[in-house]
């Protein structure tokens, strides 16, 4: 499944879409290999949905090209592109029952009835709704609608399935379960997937490769672990929920910051930059040597506790510790920094990279 070496299925070259003065897609280059699952991640308004609509043929490009299997799709209408799109609010046809919705694409592709019915039944089995053919879509729960929408998108066996916020309207626990199911399902079927989400947990759980978008451009692209471990810019880091970021000057294996002097990994280029300290790298120490802080907040997360610290100097810090080690609110602690969790952020200068506060996921806080 992680075989990203397969043949190239989708390629975008300099794709651009403008709505009046606003640029929704700005010269986007992107490729998706066959059988790959790519997740586009970004705050709302970053152009993710427009990207999907452009590939689907629902949104004409103002510049650039979309190629599917190497063929330029300019002038090819949506219904002849052979891609599937699952809409963010599902858009099930209210006047049709579940079976009618799933069979719709098969009918459009002139699949005869005697082959449609077993196909619909098999798909409903696959998404965990066996025998639901005659149910009205109005009486389905959100999770069930999502499954029907997925079955409907998969039915015509599109060469590329695109998912727009596939789990957007569902509650947390259902999402966590479904995302695992989805990944297994796509693995089983060998489907090529281009999904869009603003939820990084969803993206990282689903994708072979993550593409982070910002204001119509691609900010970073890579395997989930790489992106997570080495955010390419302050924007990406903050979008992923990392807030321990400050300006720094690297010299002689150390970074001079508002928090004091921090160790940096070997080989870090010298000069001014931004650095990120992952919460796990903020180490609590008994009072004494290090940066003195006051504990101003605690968030419990299973066996771990996220601490919000107010250092005597420098911006607020987030730390992580085991439940039993968690100091009380108001306690005075001293912190030290672990070199392996200090990440130097290349990319743009500070200040310009505030992600939408409402949109940034709060994981890690």
């Amino acid at each position: 499944m992680t075989a990203v070496t397969g043949t190239e299925l989708l390629r975008l070259e300099g794709a651009a879409v403008r709505f009046g003065a606003r640029t929704a897609l700005d010269a986007v280059d992107l490729t998706v290999a066959a059988h790959e699952i790519v997740c586009v991640l970004g705050p709302s308004g970053s152009g993710k949905s427009t990207l999907l609509r452009a590939v689907a043929g629902l949104q004409p490009l103002d510049a650039g090209r979309v190629l599917l299997d190497g063929a330029d799709q300019a002038g090819v209408p949506a219904h002849r592109r052979g891609v599937g799109l699952m809409f963010q609010d599902h858009q099930l046809f209210p006047q049709r029952d579940v079976g009618g919705n799933v069979a719709f694409g098969l009918r459009m592709h002139k699949v005869p009835r005697d082959r449609r019915e077993p196909a619909v039944a098999a798909l409903l089995d696959l998404v965990g709704l066996p025998g639901a053919q005659r149910r009205a879509v109005a009486e389905l729960s959100g999770g069930e609608q999502q499954r029907v929408a997925l079955a409907r998108a998969l039915a015509p066996e599109p060469r590329l399935v695109m998912l727009d916020e596939p789990l957007g309207q569902l509650d947390r626990s259902l999402r966590d379960r479904l995302v695992v199911e989805l990944r297994r399902l796509f693995g089983q079927l060998g489907t090529t997937v281009l999904a869009v989400t603003h939820d990084q947990a969803e993206a990282f759980a689903l994708a072979d490769r993550v593409v982070v978008m910002r204001e119509g451009r691609i900010a970073q692209s890579g395997p989930p672990l790489d992106v997570w471990q080495r955010p390419a810019s302050e924007f990406v880091a903050r979008f992923l929920g990392f807030d321990n970021i400050t300006e720094a000057t690297v010299a002689a294996g150390h970074a001079v910051t508002a928090w004091g002097s921090l160790p940096v990994p070997d080989g870090t280029p010298e000069g001014p930059c931004h650095i990120l300290v992952r919460p796990a790298g903020v180490l609590l120490r008994p009072p004494g040597d290090g940066l003195p802080c006051e504990v101003t907040g605690r968030t419990f997360r299973g066996g771990r506790v996220a601490l919000l610290l107010h250092p005597d100097r420098g911006p607020a810090l987030e730390a992580e510790c085991a439940l039993r080690d968690a100091p009380a609110e108001g306690a005075r602690v001293t912190v030290a920094f672990a070199a392996e969790d200090v990440v130097v952020l290349p990319g743009e200068p500070a200040g310009s990279a505030e992600p939408d506060a409402m949109e940034a996921p709060t994981a890690g806080r």
Partner: protein
């Protein structure tokens, strides 16, 4: 056109929740819960904006041509004939006519009776709107359909019904010696009778969909029951009350059939005066001036109405109308009883009296008058037995419906995307025939469509064409909200699944629109059936329509003629009511609120 009775909520925008998803609340909940799940992709489709505009223009072409040929041209010709002489405009005539005390009296009466009718209708119908919106009681759906019957009833029938109730030898005359036949009270009562449904449906339709929790929230914040209503519900209802009031004002301002029958020689609206000047006094200049005055007034009313409706489109929190009603409790029971009594007295009684009178033949109760309708008239009022007019009317109305559906359907398709001032103007143009003097249009047809290229003088098509003019606004108003309520992303979903544009229309739009098309057809049919003001001019003597026959019978002395008029009116009433009930039937049968919502647009 004013000769017809039915009314509609012109310019009304959907009170359906945006999006056609099965649960209108999902959108709101998702927004509240997720905040971020809605990507900001504009829903508009910028794909080839120029092509879309071209398509719109192409769709508009036929309706515009239709209105130019069969509305603007005849009306302009009449005005020109009245005000142009020897190649010069005589605009001074406007001043002369408006200075005439008789005309001033007509103008004054037209305005004040319309204002009084509107106020009275609101006072009587607003409690009804509440009852139908918020209370649950047995037979509600059926009653809702019944109060809508006057809405599609020809004015001639309403006039006859109130004559039978309040007129000479009418019910109140027999019982109490009370004769209101040619009084302003009869006119006002008939106007309320007609417009009751306009208020109940326009205001009540929205009222049912207002989220009651808004009021509950206000009450939790310390507002009393009345205070909460005044601060939360009333402001939300305001624009729809204003829109309904303006529509009632428009219809009563241009009232023709009712005033013609109940007004006697003393009371006359602009429209009646135009008819008198044109048909009886042959004073075309005066008629032309009055037509212009009426056109200006109607234009102004429609402009204010359009503005009100647009303002009312402010985002209200709407919920499924079927979920907000509750069993009446406490004082609401008294209110319900009062509303039911009003409906019985105001709507059921006149219709019942009409039917009773038609059966009250000289030889005792029976179908004597009905039988007389089938006989060849010896007095020369008709060239054919009056019963044949039923067949004429049905035939004309059917053709008019087809024309109205074609023209109105194209216009609605062009108007689906809200766009630009040009389209708003087009929208307004479509409404204009509703308020323009039908008499002018009818007479205009006679003098303009009698020479090539449009020589329709001897064509039976003339009548359906005039009737279709009134049907088109109804078709547009019914279709437009439904077309707009189809979520464009449903079409996209179908396209991505492989449906071609034509297939998308068939698979996605048609199931929604199909039912609206039926409703539109029913309204157009009922309106055409009842059209009087224009038809009275252009129907050929050997093939009069039902309303024309009723008016002729009423215009002649004698109990037999009166009885036959009642009998014909009853038949007309039954046909109109039947076509309405057929429309409402799916909603009644399935008990779904969806259908009710659709007619609630009117």
């Amino acid at each position: 056109m004013t000769g017809s009775g039915p009314h509609l909520r012109a310019g009304s925008e959907p009170h359906l929740p945006a999006g056609s998803g099965p649960d209108p609340t999902t959108g709101a909940t998702a927004e509240a819960a997720g905040g971020s799940v809605r990507a900001q992709v504009p829903v508009r489709r910028p794909s080839g904006t120029a092509r879309a505009a071209a398509l719109r223009l192409a769709l508009m072409a036929l309706p515009v041509a239709f209105f130019a040929a069969f509305f603007a041209y005849p009306v302009a010709a009449i005005v020109g004939r009245g005000l142009r002489e020897g190649g010069h405009w005589h605009l001074g005539r406007i001043g002369d006519v408006l200075g005439d005390p008789g005309i001033r009296h007509v103008l004054w009466f037209t305005c004040w009776q319309a204002a009084a009718s509107t106020a009275l209708t609101l006072a009587v119908a607003l409690p009804g709107a509440y009852v139908f919106a918020r209370l649950d009681f047995p037979g509600k759906r059926l009653l809702r359909a019944v109060v809508t019957v006057p809405f599609v009833l020809p004015t001639v029938v309403a006039g006859s019904a109130f004559l039978a109730l309040l007129g000479q030898n009418g019910l109140t005359d027999d019982l109490f010696g009370l004769r209101l036949g040619t009084s302003v009270w009869a006119i006002l009562a008939a106007h309320v009778f007609f417009n009751y449904a306009v208020v109940v449906r326009t205001v009540g339709g929205l009222w049912a969909q207002l989220d009651p929790r808004q009021e509950e929230a206000a009450r939790m914040l310390g507002a009393g029951r009345l205070e909460a209503w005044r601060r939360v519900t009333l402001p939300a209802l305001g624009p729809s009350v204003a829109a309904a009031a303006l529509m009632v004002f428009l219809f009563t301002f241009t009232s023709f059939g009712v005033v013609q029958i109940l007004g006697g020689p003393t009371y006359s609206t602009l429209e009646v005066e135009i008819y008198r000047q044109t048909a009886e006094l042959l004073d075309l200049p005066t008629a032309a001036v009055l037509t212009l005055v009426q056109l200006a007034a109607v234009g102004a009313i429609l402009a204010v109405h359009g503005w009100t409706v647009r303002r009312g489109e402010a985002s209200l929190r709407l919920v499924d109308g079927a979920t907000t009603a509750h069993r009446p409790r406490g004082g609401e029971r008294a209110l319900l009883a009062a509303v039911l009594a009003v409906i019985a007295l105001l709507i059921l009684l006149p219709l019942g009296v009409l039917a009773a009178r038609s059966l009250d033949a000289p030889g005792g109760y029976g179908f004597g008058y009905y039988r007389a309708l089938g006989a060849q008239d010896s007095s020369g009022t008709f060239l054919v037995p009056p019963l044949e007019t039923i067949w004429n009317s049905l035939r004309y109305a059917a053709v008019a419906t087809v024309i109205a559906l074609a023209i109105g359907g194209l216009a609605a398709a062009a108007l689906v995307r809200r766009a630009g001032r040009l389209m708003r103007g087009f929208d307004a143009l479509l409404m204009l025939p509703l308020g323009t003097s039908a008499v002018t249009v009818g007479f205009g047809f006679l003098i303009t469509l009698d020479k090539p290229p449009l020589d329709l003088r001897d064509s039976w098509l003339l009548v359906p064409l005039a009737q279709a003019l009134v049907g088109v606004p109804f078709v547009v108003r019914v279709m437009l909200p439904v077309l707009r309520a189809v979520d464009h992303r449903l079409r996209e979903a179908a396209a991505v699944l492989g449906a071609s544009p034509a297939r998308v229309w068939r698979e996605v739009d048609l199931p929604f629109v199909g039912r609206a098309l039926g409703i539109a057809a029913g309204f157009a049919f009922a309106v055409s059936l009842g059209e009087f003001g224009a038809t009275v001019f252009i129907a050929r003597p050997d093939s009069p329509t039902l309303p024309v026959a009723v008016a002729r019978l009423l215009g002649r002395a004698g109990g037999v003629n009166y009885g036959q008029a009642m009998a014909l009116s009853t038949i007309l009433m039954l046909v109109c009511a039947a076509s309405l009930l057929v429309l409402e039937a799916p909603a009644l049968r399935r008990g779904t609120h969806r259908g009710a919502d659709l007619t609630g647009e009117l």
